[in-house]
Protein backbone atom coordinates (compact mmCIF):
# COMPACT_ATOMS: atom_id res chain seq x y z
CA UNK A 1 0.00 0.00 0.00
CA UNK A 2 1.50 3.27 -1.07
CA UNK A 3 0.52 6.88 -1.10
CA UNK A 4 -0.52 7.67 -4.64
CA UNK A 5 -0.11 11.37 -5.36
CA UNK A 6 -1.98 11.23 -8.63
CA UNK A 7 -5.15 10.54 -6.69
CA UNK A 8 -4.78 13.77 -4.75
CA UNK A 9 -3.84 15.69 -7.88
CA UNK A 10 -6.85 14.45 -9.79
CA UNK A 11 -9.47 14.44 -7.07
CA UNK A 12 -8.56 17.36 -4.85
CA UNK A 13 -11.62 19.39 -5.97
CA UNK A 14 -13.87 16.75 -4.44
CA UNK A 15 -11.89 16.82 -1.21
CA UNK A 16 -12.15 20.59 -1.06
CA UNK A 17 -15.87 20.38 -1.66
CA UNK A 18 -16.11 18.05 1.27
CA UNK A 19 -13.88 20.27 3.37
CA UNK A 20 -16.13 23.24 2.76
CA UNK A 21 -19.16 21.29 3.82
CA UNK A 22 -17.34 20.10 6.94
CA UNK A 23 -16.45 23.69 7.83
CA UNK A 24 -20.03 24.74 7.25
CA UNK A 25 -21.48 22.06 9.48
CA UNK A 26 -18.82 22.52 12.13
CA UNK A 27 -19.39 26.25 12.32
CA UNK A 28 -23.15 25.98 12.56
CA UNK A 29 -23.01 23.17 15.10
CA UNK A 30 -20.47 24.91 17.33
CA UNK A 31 -22.70 27.96 17.58
CA UNK A 32 -25.88 26.02 18.19
CA UNK A 33 -24.22 23.68 20.67
CA UNK A 34 -22.74 26.59 22.62
CA UNK A 35 -26.03 28.46 22.76
CA UNK A 36 -27.98 25.36 23.63
CA UNK A 37 -25.49 24.31 26.28
CA UNK A 38 -25.53 27.78 27.75
CA UNK A 39 -29.29 27.73 27.96
CA UNK A 40 -29.31 24.35 29.64
CA UNK A 41 -26.62 25.36 32.13
CA UNK A 42 -28.45 28.52 33.10
CA UNK A 43 -31.76 26.73 33.50
CA UNK A 44 -30.11 24.06 35.59
CA UNK A 45 -28.41 26.60 37.79
CA UNK A 46 -31.59 28.53 38.38
CA UNK A 47 -33.15 25.32 39.66
CA UNK A 48 -36.41 25.88 37.84
CA UNK A 49 -38.58 23.25 39.58
CA UNK A 50 -39.45 20.46 37.14
CA UNK A 51 -37.35 21.58 34.22
CA UNK A 52 -34.00 21.43 36.01
CA UNK A 53 -34.56 17.80 36.94
CA UNK A 54 -35.51 16.89 33.38
CA UNK A 55 -32.47 18.70 32.10
CA UNK A 56 -30.25 16.80 34.51
CA UNK A 57 -31.53 13.56 33.02
CA UNK A 58 -31.11 14.84 29.51
CA UNK A 59 -27.50 15.82 30.14
CA UNK A 60 -26.64 12.50 31.72
CA UNK A 61 -28.28 10.50 28.96
CA UNK A 62 -26.76 12.39 26.08
CA UNK A 63 -23.31 12.36 27.59
CA UNK A 64 -23.30 8.65 28.18
CA UNK A 65 -24.67 7.43 24.87
CA UNK A 66 -22.71 7.56 21.62
CA UNK A 67 -23.33 10.33 19.12
CA UNK A 68 -23.64 7.76 16.36
CA UNK A 69 -26.61 6.10 18.00
CA UNK A 70 -28.25 9.47 18.64
CA UNK A 71 -27.67 10.37 15.02
CA UNK A 72 -29.20 7.13 13.74
CA UNK A 73 -32.18 7.63 15.97
CA UNK A 74 -32.87 11.13 14.70
CA UNK A 75 -32.34 10.20 11.06
CA UNK A 76 -33.87 6.71 10.86
CA UNK A 77 -36.19 6.32 13.82
CA UNK A 78 -37.87 9.70 14.14
CA UNK A 79 -39.51 9.48 10.69
CA UNK A 80 -41.52 6.50 11.84
CA UNK A 81 -42.80 8.74 14.62
CA UNK A 82 -43.79 11.27 12.03
CA UNK A 83 -40.79 13.57 12.36
CA UNK A 84 -38.91 13.72 9.08
CA UNK A 85 -35.93 16.07 9.24
CA UNK A 86 -33.55 16.71 6.39
CA UNK A 87 -30.13 15.09 6.61
CA UNK A 88 -28.45 18.40 7.36
CA UNK A 89 -30.91 19.30 10.07
CA UNK A 90 -30.66 15.83 11.58
CA UNK A 91 -26.90 16.11 11.71
CA UNK A 92 -26.85 19.54 13.29
CA UNK A 93 -29.56 18.53 15.77
CA UNK A 94 -27.71 15.38 16.83
CA UNK A 95 -24.42 17.19 17.34
CA UNK A 96 -26.12 20.07 19.12
CA UNK A 97 -27.95 17.80 21.54
CA UNK A 98 -24.86 15.71 22.17
CA UNK A 99 -22.22 18.39 22.51
CA UNK A 100 -24.72 20.71 24.12
CA UNK A 101 -24.88 18.32 27.05
CA UNK A 102 -21.10 18.40 27.45
CA UNK A 103 -21.01 22.17 27.12
CA UNK A 104 -23.76 22.49 29.68
CA UNK A 105 -21.65 20.53 32.13
CA UNK A 106 -18.63 22.69 31.44
CA UNK A 107 -20.52 25.92 31.89
CA UNK A 108 -22.26 24.64 34.98
CA UNK A 109 -18.86 23.81 36.39
CA UNK A 110 -17.80 27.31 35.60
CA UNK A 111 -20.85 28.75 37.35
CA UNK A 112 -20.17 26.74 40.46
CA UNK A 113 -16.57 27.82 40.30
CA UNK A 114 -17.53 31.42 40.76
CA UNK A 115 -16.70 32.52 44.25
CA UNK A 116 -19.78 32.11 46.45
CA UNK A 117 -19.41 35.62 47.72
CA UNK A 118 -20.55 36.90 44.35
CA UNK A 119 -24.13 35.63 44.32
CA UNK A 120 -24.47 36.64 47.94
CA UNK A 121 -23.33 40.14 47.16
CA UNK A 122 -25.69 40.26 44.24
CA UNK A 123 -28.59 39.28 46.43
CA UNK A 124 -27.51 41.88 48.97
CA UNK A 125 -27.77 44.44 46.23
CA UNK A 126 -31.40 43.34 45.71
CA UNK A 127 -30.83 41.84 42.26
CA UNK A 128 -33.26 39.19 41.11
CA UNK A 129 -31.80 35.76 40.51
CA UNK A 130 -31.99 36.38 36.79
CA UNK A 131 -30.19 39.70 37.06
CA UNK A 132 -27.55 38.17 39.28
CA UNK A 133 -27.06 35.42 36.77
CA UNK A 134 -26.86 37.69 33.80
CA UNK A 135 -24.78 40.54 35.21
CA UNK A 136 -22.56 38.97 37.83
CA UNK A 137 -22.21 35.22 37.63
CA UNK A 138 -22.23 34.38 33.93
CA UNK A 139 -19.50 36.77 32.86
CA UNK A 140 -17.15 35.33 35.46
CA UNK A 141 -18.19 31.76 34.80
CA UNK A 142 -17.67 32.06 31.08
CA UNK A 143 -14.27 33.62 31.46
CA UNK A 144 -13.17 30.64 33.47
CA UNK A 145 -14.35 28.05 31.02
CA UNK A 146 -13.49 29.55 27.66
CA UNK A 147 -10.43 27.30 27.21
CA UNK A 148 -12.55 24.21 27.88
CA UNK A 149 -15.20 25.45 25.49
CA UNK A 150 -12.67 25.93 22.73
CA UNK A 151 -11.45 22.41 23.40
CA UNK A 152 -14.98 21.15 23.12
CA UNK A 153 -15.46 22.85 19.77
CA UNK A 154 -12.64 20.77 18.37
CA UNK A 155 -14.74 17.77 19.36
CA UNK A 156 -17.59 19.26 17.35
CA UNK A 157 -15.30 19.41 14.35
CA UNK A 158 -14.44 15.75 14.73
CA UNK A 159 -18.10 14.90 15.20
CA UNK A 160 -18.91 16.19 11.71
CA UNK A 161 -17.10 13.18 10.30
CA UNK A 162 -20.01 11.07 11.51
CA UNK A 163 -22.34 12.90 9.16
CA UNK A 164 -20.95 10.68 6.42
CA UNK A 165 -23.22 7.90 7.64
CA UNK A 166 -26.35 9.88 6.91
CA UNK A 167 -25.31 10.56 3.34
CA UNK A 168 -23.97 14.06 3.81
CA UNK A 169 -21.08 14.53 1.36
CA UNK A 170 -18.64 16.10 3.80
CA UNK A 171 -14.89 15.52 3.82
CA UNK A 172 -14.79 11.92 5.03
CA UNK A 173 -17.65 10.99 2.74
CA UNK A 174 -15.82 12.42 -0.27
CA UNK A 175 -12.64 10.62 0.71
CA UNK A 176 -14.57 7.36 0.83
CA UNK A 177 -16.16 8.05 -2.54
CA UNK A 178 -12.79 8.69 -4.16
CA UNK A 179 -11.49 5.49 -2.61
CA UNK A 180 -14.37 3.54 -4.10
CA UNK A 181 -13.28 4.72 -7.53
CA UNK A 182 -9.53 4.34 -7.32
CA UNK A 183 -9.07 1.81 -4.50
CA UNK A 184 -6.32 3.79 -2.82
CA UNK A 185 -7.38 4.03 0.80
CA UNK A 186 -4.08 5.09 2.30
CA UNK A 187 -3.95 8.12 0.03
CA UNK A 188 -7.46 9.37 0.49
CA UNK A 189 -7.73 8.84 4.21
CA UNK A 190 -4.33 10.33 4.95
CA UNK A 191 -5.29 13.32 2.84
CA UNK A 192 -8.55 13.65 4.77
CA UNK A 193 -6.70 13.25 8.07
CA UNK A 194 -4.26 15.99 7.07
CA UNK A 195 -7.12 18.35 6.31
CA UNK A 196 -8.79 17.62 9.63
CA UNK A 197 -5.53 18.28 11.46
CA UNK A 198 -5.22 21.55 9.59
CA UNK A 199 -8.65 22.63 10.79
CA UNK A 200 -7.82 21.45 14.29
CA UNK A 201 -4.62 23.47 14.18
CA UNK A 202 -6.58 26.61 13.39
CA UNK A 203 -9.01 25.96 16.22
CA UNK A 204 -6.33 25.01 18.70
CA UNK A 205 -4.15 28.02 17.94
CA UNK A 206 -7.14 30.31 18.27
CA UNK A 207 -7.84 28.65 21.59
CA UNK A 208 -4.30 29.09 22.84
CA UNK A 209 -4.30 32.75 21.93
CA UNK A 210 -7.58 33.29 23.75
CA UNK A 211 -6.37 31.41 26.78
CA UNK A 212 -3.12 33.36 26.90
CA UNK A 213 -4.96 36.62 26.76
CA UNK A 214 -7.42 35.71 29.46
CA UNK A 215 -5.36 34.00 32.07
CA UNK A 216 -2.04 34.44 33.67
CA UNK A 217 -1.05 30.87 34.12
CA UNK A 218 1.69 29.60 36.33
CA UNK A 219 4.37 27.66 34.57
CA UNK A 220 5.17 24.72 36.76
CA UNK A 221 8.44 23.08 36.09
CA UNK A 222 8.94 19.83 37.81
CA UNK A 223 12.29 18.17 37.98
CA UNK A 224 12.15 14.43 38.23
Amino acid sequence: MTFEWYVVARYYPLLLKGLLLTIKFASISVVTALLFGLLIAVLQSLRVPVLARLLDWYVVFFRETPLLVQLYFIYYALPSLGILLSAGLSGVLAITLNEGAFIAEIIRGGIQGVDSGQPEAARALAMTRLQAMRLVIMPQALRNVIPSLVGQSSYVLKDTSLLSVIAIPELLSQAGYINDKVLSPLTVFLAAAALYVLLFFILDTAGSVTEARLSIGEQKRWKF
Binding site: L84, A167, P169, G176, Y177, D180, L183, P185
Partner: protein
Protein backbone atom coordinates in the same frame (compact mmCIF):
# COMPACT_ATOMS: atom_id res chain seq x y z
CA UNK B 1 45.08 -30.14 -15.61
CA UNK B 2 44.09 -26.54 -14.94
CA UNK B 3 41.69 -26.41 -17.87
CA UNK B 4 40.05 -29.56 -16.59
CA UNK B 5 39.52 -28.03 -13.18
CA UNK B 6 38.11 -24.83 -14.61
CA UNK B 7 35.80 -26.78 -16.86
CA UNK B 8 34.56 -28.91 -13.99
CA UNK B 9 33.93 -25.82 -11.87
CA UNK B 10 32.00 -24.15 -14.65
CA UNK B 11 29.84 -27.20 -15.21
CA UNK B 12 29.21 -27.47 -11.48
CA UNK B 13 28.27 -23.81 -11.27
CA UNK B 14 25.97 -24.07 -14.26
CA UNK B 15 24.37 -27.15 -12.84
CA UNK B 16 23.84 -25.57 -9.45
CA UNK B 17 22.38 -22.45 -10.99
CA UNK B 18 19.97 -24.44 -13.09
CA UNK B 19 18.97 -26.55 -10.16
CA UNK B 20 18.64 -23.52 -7.97
CA UNK B 21 16.46 -21.70 -10.44
CA UNK B 22 14.37 -24.76 -10.87
CA UNK B 23 14.01 -25.13 -7.15
CA UNK B 24 13.10 -21.50 -6.69
CA UNK B 25 10.57 -21.76 -9.47
CA UNK B 26 9.11 -24.89 -8.04
CA UNK B 27 9.30 -23.47 -4.55
CA UNK B 28 7.21 -20.41 -5.35
CA UNK B 29 3.80 -21.93 -5.00
CA UNK B 30 0.85 -20.42 -6.71
CA UNK B 31 -2.19 -19.56 -4.66
CA UNK B 32 -3.89 -22.69 -5.97
CA UNK B 33 -0.91 -24.76 -4.82
CA UNK B 34 -1.13 -23.24 -1.38
CA UNK B 35 -4.85 -23.85 -1.21
CA UNK B 36 -4.43 -27.50 -2.09
CA UNK B 37 -1.53 -27.94 0.31
CA UNK B 38 -3.30 -26.23 3.20
CA UNK B 39 -6.54 -27.97 2.43
CA UNK B 40 -8.51 -24.77 2.78
CA UNK B 41 -9.62 -21.99 0.51
CA UNK B 42 -10.38 -18.72 2.25
CA UNK B 43 -13.23 -16.87 0.60
CA UNK B 44 -14.62 -13.44 1.33
CA UNK B 45 -18.22 -12.50 0.77
CA UNK B 46 -20.50 -9.67 1.79
CA UNK B 47 -23.23 -11.59 3.57
CA UNK B 48 -25.86 -8.91 3.50
CA UNK B 49 -28.11 -9.88 0.61
CA UNK B 50 -30.59 -12.69 0.65
CA UNK B 51 -30.52 -15.05 -1.14
CA UNK B 52 -27.12 -14.43 -2.63
CA UNK B 53 -25.18 -14.37 0.60
CA UNK B 54 -26.46 -13.83 4.11
CA UNK B 55 -25.92 -14.89 7.69
CA UNK B 56 -28.37 -17.47 8.94
CA UNK B 57 -29.64 -16.00 12.21
CA UNK B 58 -30.07 -19.40 13.84
CA UNK B 59 -26.70 -20.94 13.02
CA UNK B 60 -24.56 -17.89 12.45
CA UNK B 61 -23.17 -19.45 9.28
CA UNK B 62 -22.97 -17.74 5.95
CA UNK B 63 -25.57 -19.25 3.64
CA UNK B 64 -26.92 -18.56 0.19
CA UNK B 65 -26.32 -18.95 -3.53
CA UNK B 66 -22.72 -17.79 -3.30
CA UNK B 67 -21.63 -19.93 -0.33
CA UNK B 68 -23.20 -22.98 -2.00
CA UNK B 69 -21.16 -22.35 -5.16
CA UNK B 70 -18.01 -21.81 -3.13
CA UNK B 71 -18.51 -24.96 -1.05
CA UNK B 72 -19.21 -26.99 -4.16
CA UNK B 73 -15.97 -25.79 -5.71
CA UNK B 74 -14.02 -26.57 -2.58
CA UNK B 75 -15.55 -30.00 -2.39
CA UNK B 76 -14.61 -30.76 -5.99
CA UNK B 77 -11.10 -29.44 -5.43
CA UNK B 78 -10.79 -31.59 -2.34
CA UNK B 79 -10.37 -28.81 0.15
CA UNK B 80 -12.45 -27.09 2.79
CA UNK B 81 -13.99 -23.70 2.26
CA UNK B 82 -13.71 -20.98 4.87
CA UNK B 83 -16.31 -18.39 4.04
CA UNK B 84 -15.78 -15.06 5.74
CA UNK B 85 -18.31 -12.29 5.95
CA UNK B 86 -16.50 -9.09 5.06
CA UNK B 87 -18.17 -5.78 4.51
CA UNK B 88 -18.20 -4.91 0.81
CA UNK B 89 -15.59 -2.19 0.96
CA UNK B 90 -13.19 -4.47 2.78
CA UNK B 91 -13.37 -7.29 0.26
CA UNK B 92 -10.86 -5.91 -2.21
CA UNK B 93 -8.26 -4.79 0.32
CA UNK B 94 -8.60 -8.22 1.92
CA UNK B 95 -7.91 -9.84 -1.45
CA UNK B 96 -4.93 -7.56 -2.07
CA UNK B 97 -3.30 -8.26 1.26
CA UNK B 98 -3.77 -11.99 0.94
CA UNK B 99 -6.24 -12.31 3.75
CA UNK B 100 -8.60 -14.05 1.37
CA UNK B 101 -7.90 -16.00 -1.79
CA UNK B 102 -11.18 -15.31 -3.54
CA UNK B 103 -13.83 -12.63 -3.56
CA UNK B 104 -17.13 -14.42 -3.99
CA UNK B 105 -19.80 -11.79 -4.16
CA UNK B 106 -22.08 -9.90 -6.46
CA UNK B 107 -19.18 -7.98 -7.96
CA UNK B 108 -20.35 -6.24 -11.07
CA UNK B 109 -17.89 -6.90 -13.86
CA UNK B 110 -16.51 -3.57 -15.02
CA UNK B 111 -13.45 -2.78 -17.09
CA UNK B 112 -11.85 -0.34 -14.63
CA UNK B 113 -11.96 -3.04 -12.00
CA UNK B 114 -9.91 -5.37 -14.19
CA UNK B 115 -6.93 -3.15 -13.46
CA UNK B 116 -7.08 -4.19 -9.82
CA UNK B 117 -8.27 -7.80 -9.95
CA UNK B 118 -8.79 -10.80 -12.23
CA UNK B 119 -12.38 -11.73 -12.91
CA UNK B 120 -13.70 -15.24 -13.33
CA UNK B 121 -16.31 -15.91 -16.01
CA UNK B 122 -19.62 -14.51 -14.80
CA UNK B 123 -21.59 -16.59 -12.39
CA UNK B 124 -24.80 -14.64 -12.77
CA UNK B 125 -26.45 -12.46 -15.34
CA UNK B 126 -28.63 -9.67 -14.18
CA UNK B 127 -29.73 -6.22 -15.04
CA UNK B 128 -30.65 -3.10 -13.18
CA UNK B 129 -34.00 -2.27 -11.67
CA UNK B 130 -35.43 0.96 -10.40
CA UNK B 131 -37.26 1.03 -7.10
CA UNK B 132 -39.65 3.82 -6.18
CA UNK B 133 -42.46 4.41 -3.74
CA UNK B 134 -45.77 2.97 -4.75
CA UNK B 135 -47.45 6.36 -4.97
CA UNK B 136 -44.53 8.01 -6.72
CA UNK B 137 -45.15 10.00 -9.87
CA UNK B 138 -42.22 8.31 -11.56
CA UNK B 139 -43.46 5.87 -14.20
CA UNK B 140 -40.72 5.56 -16.79
CA UNK B 141 -36.96 5.69 -16.91
CA UNK B 142 -37.20 9.12 -18.53
CA UNK B 143 -39.01 10.50 -15.47
CA UNK B 144 -35.91 9.84 -13.44
CA UNK B 145 -33.73 12.37 -15.21
CA UNK B 146 -35.04 15.39 -13.39
CA UNK B 147 -33.70 17.85 -10.86
CA UNK B 148 -36.38 16.91 -8.39
CA UNK B 149 -35.30 13.28 -8.24
CA UNK B 150 -32.82 12.09 -5.64
CA UNK B 151 -31.29 8.65 -5.96
CA UNK B 152 -29.97 6.61 -3.10
CA UNK B 153 -27.12 4.16 -3.67
CA UNK B 154 -24.70 2.18 -1.57
CA UNK B 155 -21.20 3.53 -1.28
CA UNK B 156 -18.91 1.85 -3.76
CA UNK B 157 -21.74 0.73 -6.01
CA UNK B 158 -21.21 1.02 -9.77
CA UNK B 159 -24.54 2.77 -9.93
CA UNK B 160 -23.26 5.93 -8.29
CA UNK B 161 -21.38 6.80 -11.45
CA UNK B 162 -24.00 5.27 -13.73
CA UNK B 163 -26.66 7.55 -12.28
CA UNK B 164 -24.46 10.60 -12.62
CA UNK B 165 -23.81 9.70 -16.25
CA UNK B 166 -27.23 8.53 -17.37
CA UNK B 167 -29.37 10.79 -15.20
CA UNK B 168 -27.28 13.93 -14.99
CA UNK B 169 -30.07 16.13 -13.71
CA UNK B 170 -30.86 13.92 -10.73
CA UNK B 171 -29.00 13.98 -7.40
CA UNK B 172 -27.31 11.02 -5.78
CA UNK B 173 -26.92 10.30 -2.09
CA UNK B 174 -24.60 7.53 -0.90
CA UNK B 175 -25.54 5.25 1.95
CA UNK B 176 -23.61 2.69 3.92
CA UNK B 177 -25.93 -0.24 3.35
CA UNK B 178 -28.98 -1.45 1.49
CA UNK B 179 -30.97 -1.26 4.70
CA UNK B 180 -30.12 2.42 4.93
CA UNK B 181 -31.28 3.32 1.45
CA UNK B 182 -34.43 1.25 1.78
CA UNK B 183 -35.27 3.14 4.94
CA UNK B 184 -34.48 6.41 3.22
CA UNK B 185 -36.78 5.52 0.33
CA UNK B 186 -39.59 4.51 2.65
CA UNK B 187 -39.38 7.73 4.61
CA UNK B 188 -39.25 9.85 1.50
CA UNK B 189 -35.70 11.09 1.93
CA UNK B 190 -34.90 9.80 -1.55
CA UNK B 191 -37.14 9.24 -4.56
CA UNK B 192 -35.56 6.29 -6.30
CA UNK B 193 -33.02 3.54 -6.04
CA UNK B 194 -31.31 1.75 -8.88
CA UNK B 195 -29.47 -1.44 -8.15
CA UNK B 196 -29.04 -4.94 -9.51
CA UNK B 197 -32.44 -6.51 -10.20
CA UNK B 198 -31.77 -9.39 -7.88
CA UNK B 199 -30.78 -7.09 -5.06
CA UNK B 200 -33.84 -4.92 -5.61
CA UNK B 201 -36.36 -7.69 -5.93
CA UNK B 202 -35.04 -10.08 -3.36
CA UNK B 203 -33.63 -7.78 -0.73
CA UNK B 204 -34.77 -4.20 -0.93
CA UNK B 205 -38.32 -4.85 -2.01
CA UNK B 206 -38.86 -7.83 0.25
CA UNK B 207 -41.21 -7.05 3.08
CA UNK B 208 -42.07 -3.68 1.67
CA UNK B 209 -44.17 -4.70 -1.32
CA UNK B 210 -47.08 -2.66 -0.06
CA UNK B 211 -45.08 0.56 -0.10
CA UNK B 212 -42.59 0.19 -2.92
CA UNK B 213 -42.71 -0.86 -6.55
CA UNK B 214 -40.26 -1.64 -9.30
CA UNK B 215 -40.34 0.16 -12.61
CA UNK B 216 -41.27 -2.26 -15.40
CA UNK B 217 -38.75 -3.17 -18.05
CA UNK B 218 -35.15 -4.33 -18.10
CA UNK B 219 -32.23 -1.99 -18.12
CA UNK B 220 -28.46 -2.14 -18.27
CA UNK B 221 -27.48 -5.80 -18.45
CA UNK B 222 -24.87 -6.61 -15.83
CA UNK B 223 -22.86 -9.63 -14.91
CA UNK B 224 -21.52 -10.72 -11.55
CA UNK B 225 -18.13 -12.34 -11.34
CA UNK B 226 -15.94 -13.78 -8.64
CA UNK B 227 -12.52 -12.19 -8.44
CA UNK B 228 -9.00 -13.29 -7.58
CA UNK B 229 -5.75 -11.42 -7.22
CA UNK B 230 -4.23 -10.09 -10.41
CA UNK B 231 -1.99 -12.76 -11.88
CA UNK B 232 -3.47 -15.70 -9.99
CA UNK B 233 -3.88 -17.53 -13.26
CA UNK B 234 -4.02 -21.07 -12.01
CA UNK B 235 -6.78 -20.24 -9.57
CA UNK B 236 -8.80 -18.24 -12.06
CA UNK B 237 -8.51 -20.96 -14.71
CA UNK B 238 -9.53 -23.57 -12.17
CA UNK B 239 -12.63 -21.57 -11.27
CA UNK B 240 -13.47 -20.97 -14.93
CA UNK B 241 -13.37 -24.70 -15.56
CA UNK B 242 -15.51 -25.26 -12.48
CA UNK B 243 -18.23 -22.88 -13.62
CA UNK B 244 -18.36 -24.26 -17.14
CA UNK B 245 -18.62 -27.79 -15.85
CA UNK B 246 -21.39 -27.20 -13.35
CA UNK B 247 -23.37 -25.27 -15.92
CA UNK B 248 -23.15 -28.21 -18.27
CA UNK B 249 -23.95 -31.00 -15.83
CA UNK B 250 -26.90 -29.37 -14.10
CA UNK B 251 -25.39 -28.68 -10.69
CA UNK B 252 -25.46 -24.95 -11.28
CA UNK B 253 -29.11 -25.15 -12.37
CA UNK B 254 -29.97 -26.99 -9.16
CA UNK B 255 -28.36 -24.36 -6.96
CA UNK B 256 -29.95 -21.59 -9.00
CA UNK B 257 -33.39 -23.10 -8.59
CA UNK B 258 -32.85 -23.60 -4.87
CA UNK B 259 -32.10 -19.95 -4.17
CA UNK B 260 -33.76 -18.03 -6.98
CA UNK B 261 -36.94 -20.05 -7.00
CA UNK B 262 -37.13 -20.16 -10.79
CA UNK B 263 -35.48 -22.26 -13.47
CA UNK B 264 -32.17 -21.12 -14.78
CA UNK B 265 -32.11 -20.05 -18.41
CA UNK B 266 -28.66 -20.11 -19.94
CA UNK B 267 -27.71 -16.99 -21.88
CA UNK B 268 -27.50 -17.42 -25.62
CA UNK B 269 -23.90 -16.26 -25.54
CA UNK B 270 -23.22 -19.71 -24.30
CA UNK B 271 -22.68 -19.04 -20.61
Amino acid sequence: MRANLILKTLVLAAGLTAAGTGLVYAATPTTLDKIVQNGTIVVGTDASIRPLSFVDPTTGDVEGFVPDLVRLYAQKLGVKAKVMDIRWAGLFPALDTGKIDLVAANVTTTIPRTAKMDFIDPWLFTGASFLVKKDSSIQTQADLNSGSVTFGETKGSVYVDIVQKDFPKAKVLQFDTLADYTQALLTGRIDAVVDDSLVINLSALKGHESQLRVLPGTFMPQTYSFAVRIGDNSLSHSLDVFFRMIKLDGEYAAIYKKWMGSDWQPQTVGY
